[in-house]
């Protein structure tokens, strides 16, 4: 008994049943492009979709076999570790995991795309390349699996981006923020959020991912001077983060909220938000960051508190 990848099984079964991709797609109620991507291993398929497809092709599987569809088992963990290190700004760790990844990854397009993405980001954080080069690099990564990396082409269509492509798009949106091409950044963030609503991407990190994308959007708003919107969105994300117990974002959100409150005070010309309120936010950010060992945010909060109020945050 030989063992195949899910995509291969579907393709071979389909050919055997003499059914075209279009026909199968139509019967299954999904896009032809999606069938194509499933067959080539670029799109992760759920068990229920698989059964639906196989039912259509009139073949029932009598046996068990477990299959890895296009994702190398050995590096799933490394990817997660790398992403966590990135999100905590721990670049040395990130560099380490990236090297591990490179050694263990295969030759597949998916892996190469992921590594290219991680490389660009690290080089940018280490100031080896500038934001413009980061944008170029990320677009190059996207080009490995997308025929067009101009996001404008996808704006009105419902293209089934893979989770990895959405991740790179998120990085791209961040890069445009750094480059001050704010409209592009906003567009891409909204594009991603719309796609997440479609619900075809199913992973345990989806809620977290959505919150990070939303936070990127608040950074864009801040740069555009839309502080009111930024504040509102930040408070929304904070509630979500608390409900989901997602500690990674809570300190930075609290800090960002305090920052926007001060900006709004400046603009309004009066104390719309009291000093007490703002101080509290900074203290919350400080102590919760400390509780979680987030040294970066802890320092950010302490430094800003001292600068503004001339006293130490720890009384």
């Amino acid at each position: 008994m030989a063992n195949y990848k899910v995509g291969d099984i579907i393709r071979l079964t389909r050919k055997f049943a003499e059914v075209s991709q279009e026909e199968l797609a139509f019967q299954a109620g999904i896009a032809t492009e999606t069938i194509s991507r499933i067959e080539s291993g670029k799109h992760r398929i759920t068990a229920s979709t698989y059964r639906k497809i196989m039912e259509i092709l009139n073949l029932f599987s009598e046996q068990n076999y477990a299959i890895c569809s296009g994702r190398d088992v050995g590096i799933i963990e490394e990817k997660k570790l790398l992403e966590e290190a990135e999100s905590k700004y721990e670049f040395e760790k990130a560099r380490y995991y990236l090297n591990e990844l490179r050694e263990n990854a295969g030759e597949s397009v998916i892996d190469r795309q992921y590594i290219l993405r991680a490389e660009c980001l690290l080089q940018y954080y280490n100031r080896q390349i500038d934001a413009a080069a980061l944008v170029r690099g990320l677009k190059k990564a996207l080009n490995l699996t997308l025929s067009s990396c101009d996001y404008e082409n996808y704006r009105d269509k419902k293209y089934p981006f893979s989770a990895q492509e959405l991740l790179i798009l998120m990085n791209l949106s961040g890069a445009y923020n750094a480059l001050d091409e704010l409209d592009k950044s906003e567009d891409i963030s909204n594009l991603i959020l719309r796609h997440l609503e479609e619900g075809y991407v199913d992973s345990e990190d989806i809620d977290n991912f959505r919150m990070v994308v939303k936070r990127n959007l608040t950074v864009t708003y801040e740069k555009m001077g839309r502080y009111e919107e930024a504040l509102r969105l930040l408070q929304e994300i904070l509630q979500e983060a608390i409900a989901l117990s997602y500690g990674l974002l809570v300190p930075i959100l609290l800090y960002d909220i305090s920052w926007n409150m001060r900006k709004l005070n400046d603009i309004c010309g009066y104390e719309r938000f009291s000093a007490e309120e703002i101080k509290l936010k900074k203290k919350q950010a400080y102590y919760i960051a400390a509780a979680r060992g987030d040294e970066y945010i802890k320092k950010l909060a302490a430094d800003s508190y001292k600068k503004i109020y001339g006293e130490e945050i720890e009384t």
Binding site: I45, S61, N64, I67, C68, S245, G247, A290
Partner: protein, 302 residues
């Protein structure tokens, strides 16, 4: 490196972690069966595969399985049950467990173990002795005896943690066992699962040592757990852990001159307090306030 069957995956990780075949399959199937599974020549039901994969620290969800109808049905039920337990939907879980009991293969230890383990988590009405009896029975299904090199999958760990939580006195070396399991989990599990399980093991170790008034150990374990959580994305337990650390510091150093430690203790209280606050946990805040007044003579809400 391409891995295409569960068998190959099993073999890959078994060799990577240098485990013995006998340890991986102990209590689940024979060594010859495991050999055949690894070679791809043997089909077993998905629960057995889960159990074997679990011994090498991996989850079936990381891979995709294509199952026959009956097996798929049971697998789906198990998923629903686990999800229900996670979301705290007790009544639904009990109903699903009844369905599982009616439909599972007869006299199958693996399924019985799964059933009992989930029932213990869902059921509130059992007495302590009965719970311990059930847990031991379930554990016996796959763990006839213990040794240092024992491997445990998540179900088995769940049962052991359960016994620890109920203060089962039948094992003198409970702390050592928990220790060994934690080492194992740290090595072969990853990501959120590792966080979750290691944190729970540490919690049991903390409670155990608090009972025994070994406060230095409580502090050490709390620090480890905090270190762990700081590498994770979650917020659960963080407040509780800092608070426990504060209390243990107070117990450990009280009666001596403890000026520097008082500052440390206050800091832990502040971290606990603010975290309880943001999580809208008024009960937690009240406990911290009370402790600060009584033991530190200090008003934390200045």
């Amino acid at each position: 490196m391409r891995l295409n069957t569960i068998g190959e995956v099993l073999k890959f990780y078994r060799k990577k972690y240098r485990f013995k075949q006998s340890d991986v399959c102990r209590g689940i199937c024979s060594m010859s069966t495991l050999s055949r599974i690894e070679k791809g020549n043997r089909e077993v039901d998905s629960l057995t595969l889960e159990a074997l994969l679990g011994r090498v620290g991996k989850e079936v969800l990381q891979f995709e399985m294509i199952l026959n109808d009956y097996d798929y049905y049971l697998w789906t039920l198990r998923r629903q049950i686990r999800k229900g337990l996670k979301l705290g939907k007790r009544e639904e879980v009990i109903r699903l467990l009844e369905e599982y009991r009616e439909n599972m293969p007869e006299d199958d230890d693996m399924h019985i173990q799964f059933l009992i383990c989930c029932n213990l988590q869902a059921c509130d009405s059992m007495g302590k002795d009965e719970k311990i009896r059930e847990a031991l029975q379930a554990l016996q299904c796959t763990c006839p005896e213990f040794s240092e090199t024992s491997l445990y999958n998540e179900t088995e760990i769940e049962l052991i943690l359960f016994l620890a939580h109920e203060r089962y006195k039948g094992w003198e070396d409970m702390e050592e066992r928990l220790h060994n399991i934690r080492k194992l989990v740290y090595e072969i599990y990853s990501g959120r699962r590792r966080e979750r399980i290691c944190t729970r093991i540490l919690k049991e170790l903390i409670d155990l040592n608090w009972d025994r008034k070994h406060y230095r150990k409580v502090i050490d374990y709390a620090e480890e757990a905090i270190e762990f959580i700081s590498q994770s994305r979650s917020m659960e337990y963080i407040a509780e852990l800092h608070f426990i650390k504060a209390k243990a510091i107070a117990e450990y150093y009280s009666g001596q001159k403890w000026n520097t430690e008082v500052v440390l203790c206050r800091n832990e209280c502040l971290m606990a307090y603010y975290t309880f606050d943001i999580m809208n946990n008024d009960e937690g805040k009240a406990r911290v306030e009370e402790f600060c007044e009584e033991k530190l003579k200090w008003q934390i809400t200045k």
